[in-house]
Structure formats: structure tokens, C-alpha cells
Symmetry: D2
Subunit: 341 residues, 4 copies
Amino acid sequence: MQHFDCDYMEGAHPLILEALVRTNMEKSVGYGVDEYCASARRKILAACGLEDGEVHLLVGGTQTNATVIKGLLRPYEGVIAATTGHVALHEAGAIEASGHKVLTIPGCDGKLTAEAIDNYITAFRADEAWDHMVWPGMVYISQPTEYGTLYSLAELEAISAVCRKWEMPLFVDGARLGYALASPATDVTLKDLARLADVFYIGGTKCGAMFGEAVVIPRKGLIPHFFTTIKQQGALLAKGRMLGIQFDVLFTDNLYIDIARHAVELATRLREAFRDKGYEIFAEAPTNQVFVALSAEQEAHLRTLTTFSEWERTADGRLVVRLATSWATRTEDVEELINAL
Amino acid sequence: MQHFDCDYMEGAHPLILEALVRTNMEKSVGYGVDEYCASARRKILAACGLEDGEVHLLVGGTQTNATVIKGLLRPYEGVIAATTGHVALHEAGAIEASGHKVLTIPGCDGKLTAEAIDNYITAFRADEAWDHMVWPGMVYISQPTEYGTLYSLAELEAISAVCRKWEMPLFVDGARLGYALASPATDVTLKDLARLADVFYIGGTKCGAMFGEAVVIPRKGLIPHFFTTIKQQGALLAKGRMLGIQFDVLFTDNLYIDIARHAVELATRLREAFRDKGYEIFAEAPTNQVFVALSAEQEAHLRTLTTFSEWERTADGRLVVRLATSWATRTEDVEELINAL
Amino acid sequence: MQHFDCDYMEGAHPLILEALVRTNMEKSVGYGVDEYCASARRKILAACGLEDGEVHLLVGGTQTNATVIKGLLRPYEGVIAATTGHVALHEAGAIEASGHKVLTIPGCDGKLTAEAIDNYITAFRADEAWDHMVWPGMVYISQPTEYGTLYSLAELEAISAVCRKWEMPLFVDGARLGYALASPATDVTLKDLARLADVFYIGGTKCGAMFGEAVVIPRKGLIPHFFTTIKQQGALLAKGRMLGIQFDVLFTDNLYIDIARHAVELATRLREAFRDKGYEIFAEAPTNQVFVALSAEQEAHLRTLTTFSEWERTADGRLVVRLATSWATRTEDVEELINAL
Amino acid sequence: MQHFDCDYMEGAHPLILEALVRTNMEKSVGYGVDEYCASARRKILAACGLEDGEVHLLVGGTQTNATVIKGLLRPYEGVIAATTGHVALHEAGAIEASGHKVLTIPGCDGKLTAEAIDNYITAFRADEAWDHMVWPGMVYISQPTEYGTLYSLAELEAISAVCRKWEMPLFVDGARLGYALASPATDVTLKDLARLADVFYIGGTKCGAMFGEAVVIPRKGLIPHFFTTIKQQGALLAKGRMLGIQFDVLFTDNLYIDIARHAVELATRLREAFRDKGYEIFAEAPTNQVFVALSAEQEAHLRTLTTFSEWERTADGRLVVRLATSWATRTEDVEELINAL
């Protein structure tokens, strides 16, 4: 039985583990002001083409989304997201818990368009009752999205332009960012993100780390006292250097991208194999996730071969499942599954 | 130069690290429903003398306090704590961020008394305007306290009785619980805590783990849907088994207590040495922390020997500092510092 | 120029004003524990056929919705509402400000169906990731809805049954309840509401009072310490008797229904006149509001005759407007508008 | 039996009631954009010596405090208040409900000093752990205080200077402001408040109105989108003109001050009479409240003469009571009570 449930089934990339072991008995002060965190910050800023800017290291994705959004919004504001956005659906109300509404716009394969955002704001401002409604204060998108799809550079530039036109910060959830950057289908680089987004994060948990998300704020001071807000949200790791070490390793010798590329290649092989065997691919997702809509027969067969995640139901009632690869997925396991399909 | 700043300066206890390395490439599902978490839960419940009960594994202390308190309180309720309580002072408003007031009562060396709590509630209920005020909905104490002091069994029983009399859950912050349990000065066991508290946690971060706090709820279902509240607070680790592995190791062969005893013994030697050399010990704290009130001269001297934490100022303006030992503190380092005092 | 913008353009019904003047110099204690409030409570409970139960008098609708919902929900819960529900759209995020998500289900003419609610819960509980999502903790509907439409007794009974099946309280926003109760199209009485809803309110602001909403909780104690939560939400009027006097008058000699009937009759005449003149009636709303979809020409004409509220745009871009009558609307003004259409 | 419980026992000043009756059947749009609100705003700004500035009309005091404080603070910030401040004690946690901590400083007779505030901030910024603590984001004081005491102009100027030095807005709760402005003991005018405070409000509920508090923001735009925040807090009255009419009357022909002067004069007579009869006056409060510490015998006697509010207990266990006068207090009632003491 194989396991393709998700991209966080194993521990940490061996190079990270090795660094954790090597440095284990060193002493450092807590809360992220140690030398490893400093080194990680420098490397991340360099990779983003930023001379200056803030990098904050948090533990997990929902936590990061809630903390950044709370930091960016004023009480009368909400965050625009796709109806399928992680903050809208699968964070147990974390955004609302900090007092803010998620303003949903229907997306397509998990993506918002600049036009849809622009129309939303235009209609909002034209509404006679606008000041009785939640002011759209920022835009949240994911790269890749929850469906593994990617924004192209042109799409991102358009969204960024709409955000700047309406003076709303753009926040990019990069919980799986490595798989986007490593996809042959992308034309978006870290430097593009640093230019187009106001805040974004580089996911570690799902891309090689044991845990950790690196929030990048290209324009220093955009969120005043963000350290204190991180602490308030319970998102400040006492032994902060554990985060520093992990991101320092991930951003040494291109490791972050290299391991993600491996996952994307295996997912691509898996996706093509499903397609070849007559399965219906559910979303055109050129990253590390494979979405397949299964007939009852296919579902029964696949259950004998591997575990996976149940995603949703199609309009005609078929189960859509997700298989995910990661830095840790073994080529032979993928081949074994392909052969058995 | 020595470093006694705090008890979270190193990584994880070697046995934990070894387990993390050994299991690294195993696959498990996320969010804490794996076998390592199950094993850790069983061992913790057994150590607490509980046949049944809930154990939730969270990442850090502030996060745990905020999540438990949010889970226990209704909107009109607040949490009683000592004025010096961690939730009252050093969590950046995490409790208030979830909508609840911290109702402070002056303590002594960080401790509340049953009598003070009882008087507070009695006065509250006698107040003509009680229903215009925040209802005291629970009691928060720490074992050991922020000053390293300990509640005796009699004190805990009295506090627990007052809480039950007034139908308020008692929550014990055990961020450093190991050092309390291992102190020769204590008569309180884990089983006592499980009997007297409604919720408490067993701190990992400061007691041997890389990170992690194990929340014990002896009476199952006391906080309905607590898993979802944990997720909402951003306190749910994706690779949950990392927590399970750590607590599984800590609760195997008495490791949790053994390593804490080491730290307490070294702190005791350090404390006695300070006293012998004429330094003023600030709080009678029989655990792993040493609080010393320094004259200007002593301060200058100590700064040449070691780093430490600045705690507060005495009424006459002297600096109170804290030195902490941990499972990782080396005996020779303590001896070197003692000799140099 | 006529004015049919809304049903809160005038002050208070003359009988209310008279009572306020008559009692003005009396002295009473504050916060709603005076004799007028007691009398209003007795009359409201009697009208609801309740021997026991709670009645709380608040000031306004958004405030009442936010306070009741906060009182009913636990942190992990959200409130189900129609996409067009007032709490979902036009309360500036008041529900989210208290930490809760509004879980929207598309309605029809502002109404939810029992089946849609049942399907929502069924799908939610079948979702693999349900405990990462906001638990549906209650249902919010309005009688009449934002579109002036009405739930029939059968529809309400079905919704109530679904709520009880899933153990979710049912909350009915009755900001315009008078116009529902007085509609010839309704078969729902106050006694039905008291039997089928867990909390509902009887709107005063839009139905004859200067301000005020009477929250009825048929089952005493359902929301513990609700008085304190009302205070916390800033919804407790110091001179509480002003609310008592108003509801006492409204519930004397059937005034509440009689004045609402007048408004519904005039709205019906207006609606029929629009239809007769070839205007498109937008929603079948047998209460005090008239929704009309206007061609550009019709819009231009209507603007010369009266003010109104702009509601939304039809799919083909026409403006939908709302005209509202109230207890204060004069028959001759309606006739003048009809003649000029 | 007399009644001196509080200053909100009667309805509205007769001139206000008359205006409400006179305008009752006029039609106006809702939410405070009518002509009466505009007129009230103009008169209030003029009385404050402001050419420009915002005036928002809310319903009650707790609501106003919570809304203004929420509008002024960012998530990481708290509000400094006296330990006895209304927001710290008697608002049922309304400030915490919006996510913010009340940072209390012990006062004297309800008053804070500039020095105490300055010391607090100085110590905060010197604290090694400041960024783990709630940032002091504003200062809240009351004029008069909860003990009826007054800040002198020099004291207010000093507090304002400290606030500006540390870049914290100063918010003055003026729920009873009329009685401060009308006190012979004051040297502070409305113009001084408008110059020294960043936000303050002019209390209506306790000073002649049926309800209503007028928030003045001398520097326009200080709180962006404040209207929406007011709506979100449930503090926006639908029939907003009811507030406009009341404040328009209060600020015509000096009514607000004249009626407050009456109350202060009667309170002064009452206070002197208590003192003459050997009662202990509890706080030097030159406004409309009289605080008396009663022996058991005095308490028994007073209870036969009048109702009052129980305030607190002295260190030696005697009851402190409060008697309040208002615009509505009759001279003969005060004289009758004095004679019977």
C-alpha cells in the first residue's frame, strides 16, 4: 500500500536534520534573534532580490495567514479571497477569530482574476450602502492555489496592479511555494513575488522543513510591531533558531528549489499516467498535486493501491481525490503505483 | 563567558533527536492522529493515573494558554491570574485578543492563595454592579510560577476546592512542570495535578523537547471541539507526529523527570553558591531558576562571567536577574561560574 | 416629492410619544429593571403564549443580531445565514468582530429552505476535513426577509425541525416582524415563533418605536449571563425604561399589529399599482416593502416623484429599488404617488 | 422616600422632549446624515472652537468607549487607564471583547497623573521584554472621573503633553462632561478639551438627553472609516436624527451647561450638609456626585430617607455610598433630605 495523502507525511529533509543534530548543543537566545535566523534572513532576502526588507519565521500555515492578515487589516476591513481559498474554508475560522470577514469571490480552479477583483471593488464602491459593509482591505491569493494551479506572471502583475490602484496590500500564501517556483510551467520567480506582493511567505512545512514558514515583507515597517502581533497570536517559537537553521539550509545551494523540482517531476509522471489510463484529471495543476475525479470502479481500484485525500464531489457525484508528492517521495513508489493503475 | 539566560537555549534532548532521526522517513498522516501521538497520549495518561482523558499536543506556551483559556471561557467570563502571571504580563495580550479579560489578584512570589481567590469571588458576588463586570470564569496558576516557586499539595488542594465551590475550572500552566515535579521541595505529583486541575499542561519546550506542550484534560469532553479551536488558533502542527515522538520519548523510562532533576540540582548548587558569596536571593524558588538581586558592583562583576535575564528592579533600584539551568546545563559550567563568583 | 426610502423616516408612534411625555419626570433605576420594562415583558410573554421565558430590550437591530449570536455560539462555531442575510452583508462585519464566521447558503428571495440547511450540515459532517472547518452552530433567518418575503408556517416548522435534529438553535431576526404578523399572506403567529425559534426578536425601530428591539428567549437560561453580554456589547441602555415604555405601549390593545397592518395595506396598494402600470415587481413580498426592477425610463420617471432606496442590479443591469411604507405613511401620499406613476 | 441613586433616573429635559414631539412626523433619512444631526454638529464644533473636525453621535457610554478605543488601537496595542476607570471595571469586558488589554495604573480619587503615565511608558520601554508585552497605544481618562473629581487645566495639559511626547492619542470620557464644565471648581473649557484631547465625548445620557453621546474628533480623519466601525459595533442608531435633535437642543442657548450647573449646585449643598452633620465625605468631588463613607448607624438612618448607590467599602469596612443629582433634581427634594439628615 502506497501513501500519497499529502506532502507532509515525512519529517525533515536529511540536510536539515543533519544541521539540527550538528548544532543541537549550541546555546543561543530565544525568539529568533540568533545568528542562524540572521543568516536565513540574509539568504532569503538575497534570493528575493531585496536589499532590505523583513523576514519573520513562523511555525505553520494557518497561523501565518491569521497573523499576517491581522497585522495588515484595520477593524473595519476584510480580506478578499477565492471561495475555495484556504483562509475561507479550512482554517476553522481563524480569520474571523481575529475579527475580520473573509470576502469571497468565486474563482476558477482556485484562482482569482484581476478583473474579478476590480469588479468587486468597483461594485462595492458604487453601492449606496458601502459604509454599512466590510471594506475590502487586502487581497489573499495562494501560489500555487489549493488546486495546485499557478498564477502566471501576467496574471500576478495584473492582480498586483489592481491592488495598488485600490490601495490594498496583496498577500500571497506560499505554503507550497517551492512547488510553484520549481514548476516548468511557471514564469514567476521569487524576485517577481517580492516586487508584486506586499507580503508573501515561503512555505517550509510542505517543502522540506520539519515545520516553518518564512514571511517576507519587502517594504520594511509595513506592519508595525509585527513581532508583538506574532507573539500575541502564539506564533513565536521560543527556540526560534530551529526555524533559522531550517531556512538557512533550505536557502543554501538552491536546496529549496531542487527538492521541489523532484516532487513536481514525480507528480507530472503520475498525472500523465492517470490520464493515459483513462482517469479524468480534475484541475490543470502543474505542481506537486494530482487531482483525479474517480468513477466508482476507479475509486474502488485506487483504494487497493494507495491512500489519498478526499477532496470534493463533482456535480455528478463522483469523488475527486488528491495525491501529493513531496521532496521525500521515492521514484520507485511512483512507478509502482503507475504500473498498478 | 557562560550563558544562563534561560532554559531554552539548546535544541532537543539527544534521545529525542535520535528518535526524530530514526523515524524521519516514515510516513504518517498529519495533525496528530498518528501512532506516535497515540503512544505519547497513552504514556502521559498513565503517568497521570488517568484511565481516560484527553491529551492534546501543541507547539508553544503562549499559544497553549490562549487556546485553553479560549476553550474554557464564555464571552462574559474572564480568567483569574496573579498580577505577575505569564498570561497577565508577557503574552502580548494573547488572552485579550481572544476577547477575555485577565482578572488579576496580587500574589506573593508569583503564587495565588485559595483565600485570596475566595475573597475575590465573594466580593465580586456581593458587588451591587456585578453583572456590569467580567464574571470570573476560571483560575490560572503556574506550577512552578514565573518566580520558580511551588505550590504545595495543601495549597493546590485548597485552590482546587475553592474553584470547585465556585464552579470555576482550574487551569495549571506547566511550561516548566518537569522542574516542579523533580524538585526535592515538592509534594505534588502528576496524579495530584490530574485530580486537582481541570486542565493542565506538561511543558516540553523548556524541559527537554525541541518544542511542544502536552495539554491534559482529565475529564473528557470538558472543552467541546477543542481540536477545531486548536486549529483556529493556529496551534495545530501539520506534522503532528513530531510532537508525538518527542513526548513519547520524554515519557519513556522517566526521562522527563530525570533530566529535570539534573537541572534542579545544578540550580540549587548555584543558588547556594550565590547565597554563600553574599548575594541576595530574591525568591525562594526550589526549581531550575535562580533569582538574585544585585548591587551595582555585583551586577558589574556578574556581567563579566555570564549572560542572564534581567527580571525587574527592587524597590531600592537594584537589578533582579534570573539565571536558569536546564537538562542541557553542564556541571562543569556551573562549577566554573561558582568558582568565579 | 414623496419619500418612501425606508420605514424609519419618522419618530415614534404618537401613543408612544405620549407615554414618554407623560412619564418623563418619574424616577426609576436604570438598565431595564424598572416597572415599565417589567410590564412590557409580561405583555410580550403573554402575546407569545409563554408562561415563562426571557425578554431583553435592546436598542437596534445590528446590535441585537451581534449580541444574540455572540451569546449563542462557542468559539469554534459559526452561524448559518442566507447569502443575502442582513448579518452576512449589511452589518459591517459585526458578527466576525465577535469572532464568528457567517456560513452562507444561497437562498431564494432571501429565504433559506430546511432542505438546503439539512444538505449543508449533511455535507459538512461527511467532509473528511470537517474538524478543520467552522462548525455550524446555529441558524439565522429573518421574518420577513431582507426582500420582504415570508416563511410559511410549514416552512418554519421544517426549518425548526432540521435545527433540532442537528441540535442548532434557530434565531429569527424580526426587525420588521410586525409587518410579517400583520400580513394577510402569513399563517405564522407570535405563538408559533415562540414554539419554533430558540431566540427571536420583535422589532420596534422599524415598527412604531423610536428605537428598540425585544429579544424573546422562550427557554429561560438558554444564554447564561446574557445581561452581562448585552452590557459588554454596549447594548444596554442606561435609561432602560425608555425601552420598557415603548414596548408596553406597542403591546397594549394590539397596537403593534394594527399599525403594521396599515403599512402592509398601503404597500399592497402601491405594489399592485406598480404592476398595473407595467413595472416589474422584483420579489413576491407581501409585507411593507415594494421591490421594483426599473427600466432606465422608469427610473428617470420615478426619480421625479419620490425618493427610494437603491437595492441592487438585475442581471441585465436594471436598477432594483425599494419603497417602504410604515405605520406613519399617509394614505394620501400613497395615492398621490400611484396617480403619478 | 427620596431617590438619589444616579443621574439617569428621569427621561429627557423638557426642551428636548418638546423638540422630539414637534419634529416627530417629519421624514428624514437614517443613520445620522439628516439636517438635525448636521445642525448639532455645527453647534458642537462651534462650542469647541473648532473650524473643522468630526462629530459622531452614539447612543451610550460603554458603547462609545469601546468603539472609540477599537477605532484608535492597532492589534498589538492596549489602552492606559486608571485602575478605577470605567473601561477597566464596569463595562463587562467591552474593551477586551474588541481584543485589547486595559493597562491599568493606580490613580488617586480616580485621576491619573502625567508623571505616572510618563513613568509607566519609560519603564515599559526600558523593559528587556517590552516586545512580549502589550504596547501602550493610547490613554483613557474621564472628566469628571468615576469619583466625580476633576482634572485641572494644568493637569490636563501635562497629560496631553506626555501623550504627544510618546505619540499616544488621549481620549477623554465625558459621560458626565456637563457637570465638569459647569463646576465652579473647574478651569477647563470645551475649547481646552478640543485642543488637548485627540478624541473626547460630550455625554448626553447623564446630562439632560434621553440618551446619546457626542464624540468629537478635532483632527478630521484620525480614525479612518469610523462610521463603519460604529456600525460594526452596533452603535449606529437607525433613526439617527433622534440624536441630532437632542444635541441640537442641548447646544442651543447654553442649555447643556445651564442644566448641569443646577445639578452641581444642588450636589454642593448636599455635600456641605453631609459634612456639617458629621458625615465623612469620601472624595473631593466638586461635580454632581456626593460620596459619603457611612458608619453603620449613619447607613441605617440614610436608608430610611433615600435610595442611593453602594460604591465600595473603606479599609475599615464602612460602606461608601454615592448620591447623584441631575438636571431633573428638585431643590425641594434636596432640602427635604438635608433637613432629615
